[in-house]
Symmetry: C3
Subunit: 216 residues, 3 copies
Amino acid sequence: MKGFNAFVQLFLPKDKVFYSLFEEVADSVAKMGSLLKEVVGEPDFDKRAALISQLETQEHVNDDLTHRIFTELGRNFITPFDREDIHYLASSLDDICDYIYAAAKKINFYKVNPNDPGIQKMADLIEQGSRQIRSAVKELRNMRDMRTITDALVRVNSIENQADDIFDMSIERLFETEPDAKEVIKKRDIYQVMEIVTDKCEDATNVIESIIIKYA
Amino acid sequence: MKGFNAFVQLFLPKDKVFYSLFEEVADSVAKMGSLLKEVVGEPDFDKRAALISQLETQEHVNDDLTHRIFTELGRNFITPFDREDIHYLASSLDDICDYIYAAAKKINFYKVNPNDPGIQKMADLIEQGSRQIRSAVKELRNMRDMRTITDALVRVNSIENQADDIFDMSIERLFETEPDAKEVIKKRDIYQVMEIVTDKCEDATNVIESIIIKYA
Amino acid sequence: MKGFNAFVQLFLPKDKVFYSLFEEVADSVAKMGSLLKEVVGEPDFDKRAALISQLETQEHVNDDLTHRIFTELGRNFITPFDREDIHYLASSLDDICDYIYAAAKKINFYKVNPNDPGIQKMADLIEQGSRQIRSAVKELRNMRDMRTITDALVRVNSIENQADDIFDMSIERLFETEPDAKEVIKKRDIYQVMEIVTDKCEDATNVIESIIIKYA
C-alpha cells in the first residue's frame, strides 16, 4: 500500500503531494487516538503491552510521513499553502502522535492501573479530538465544506478546555486522596502528557484556521 | 470600550491595527502582572479566589486580542514589521498571560499558602517585568524613544536572571526543609510556572529587540 | 582571541560571518559536552563545582555568540541559507548548551551523587552527540564532504533513541528501588534534562538536514 501511494504520488502535480501526505498523517492521528482508548480500556497488562506496541509501530509510520513532508518542503518551490504553515501543521500533527504514544507507554512503564476516572476521560477526549483533526485535515484539499472544518475547529477547542478541567480535577483529587507521593508523581505525569495531546490538537487546528483564513 | 476600539480601528490605515492590538495586549500583560501580586499578597483563600477569577477573565480578553492579531495577520498583506515577528511577539505576550494565570490558579488549587519567600519574590519580579513589557511595546509605534525600549529590554533580562536565582534558592530550601514530598511537588510546580513567566517576558523582549534592529 | 575573530569577520563577505559564528558555537557545544562528562566523572563535590562554573562561563560565551547571530540576521539582507534555518539552527544549538549547563547545575544543586548508571550513560551519549554536532556544523561552509554530515545526522538520531531507552530504564529502576519520593523527584529531573539535551541535538541535525536538502 505504501508502495502504491508512492507510485500514485509520482503522477500528482508536485504541490498535490502535500495533501496526500497530510491525509495519511491525519489517518495516523485518528488511528492512534482510537488505539489509546483501547489501551486504557484493556485491564490486562500484557494485552495492553501488545496494543502499546501497535502504537509504537504507528508512531514510526508517522515519523516517516512527517519526514517526507519536510523533505518535499525542501524540494518543492511551489506549495499549496504557506511553507511555514506546512511546517507548523506537520510538526503539530507529529507532536499529537508522539504524545499519544508517550501517554500509552507511561501507563505500563509506571505500572499504573488505567481504570482511573481522569485517565479514562482524557482518553475519550483524545479519541474525539483525533477524529476531528482527521475531518479538518481531509477538507483542506477542496476547502468546499467549510462547515466541516469550522465545526471541527470549534470542537477541538472545546475538547482542549474540557481536558484542562479534567486535568485540574484529577490533580486535585490525586493530591487529596493518594498518600503515596511516588504514585502522585506517576499519575500526574500521565495526566500531564494526556493533556498535552489536546493542546497539540488545538495547535494543529490553529494552523488549519490560519490556512483557511488566507486561502478560503 | 471594546466596541469603540473596534470602531476606531475601522478608520486606521490597515497596518496600524497591529499597534493598537499590541498595545491592548501590553495593557493586559501589565494588568495581569499586577493582579498576580495582589493574589500572593491576599491571605484569605476566598478573596484570593475572587482575584484569580479576575485573572481568568483578563486571560480570556487576552486570548481574544491574540486571536484578532493572528486573524489580521492572515488578512493583511502589508504589516508594520515582519510577519514572523508579529507572530512571535503575539505568541510570547499570550504565553506571559497564560502562565501568570496558571501560577495564580495553582496557588488555590494546591491550597498552598502564598506567604512564602520564593512565591513573593517571584511575584514582585513578574509585576516589574510585565510593566517593562508594556513600556517597550508602547514605544514600538513611534520608535522615537529608543532609550525607553532598550532600558526595558535590559531590565527584563536582569529580571529573568534574578528569577533563575530565586528559583534555584527556593528549590534548594524546599528540598532541605520540607519533609512532605507532596508539598515539594506542589511548591516546585508553582515556582516553575512563575519562573516560566519571566522566560516568556524575555522571549517577548528578544522579539522586540529583533524588530528594532531591523527598523530603527 | 574574541577580538581577533571580530577583526577577521570585518573582512569577510557579509554572509560568511554566519559560518564563522556557527563554527564558534559548534566548538562551544562540543566543549560543553566534554565538560559535562568530566562533571559526572568527578567524585568530589567542590571539584565538580569548579567544573560546573567553567560550564557556566562557556554558556555565557555561547549566549553572546547566539545573540550575535541574531543581530547579524537582523542586519544582513543576504544570508548563506534561509533566514528561518539560521534562526532555528542558532536556537537549537543554544538550547543544547542551556540544557547541558542545567543538567550539570542540578547535580550539585540537588546534592545528587552522579555515580549513577543512568547519569553516566546519558553523559556519554551527550558527549558523543555534541561532537557529532560539531562535525556536521563545520561541514556546512563547504558542503563538500556530505558523507561526514550524513554520518553525523544518522549518529545523532541513534544517540537520541538510545537516550530515550536509557531514560525509560532509569526511571523504571528509580521508581522500583528508590523509597524516598524526594530523591525520585531529583533524579527524575536530572534524567529528564539530560534526555532533552539529546532531543535538542536531534533538532539541530534536523535543521542541518533541511539546509543540505535545499542547497547541496
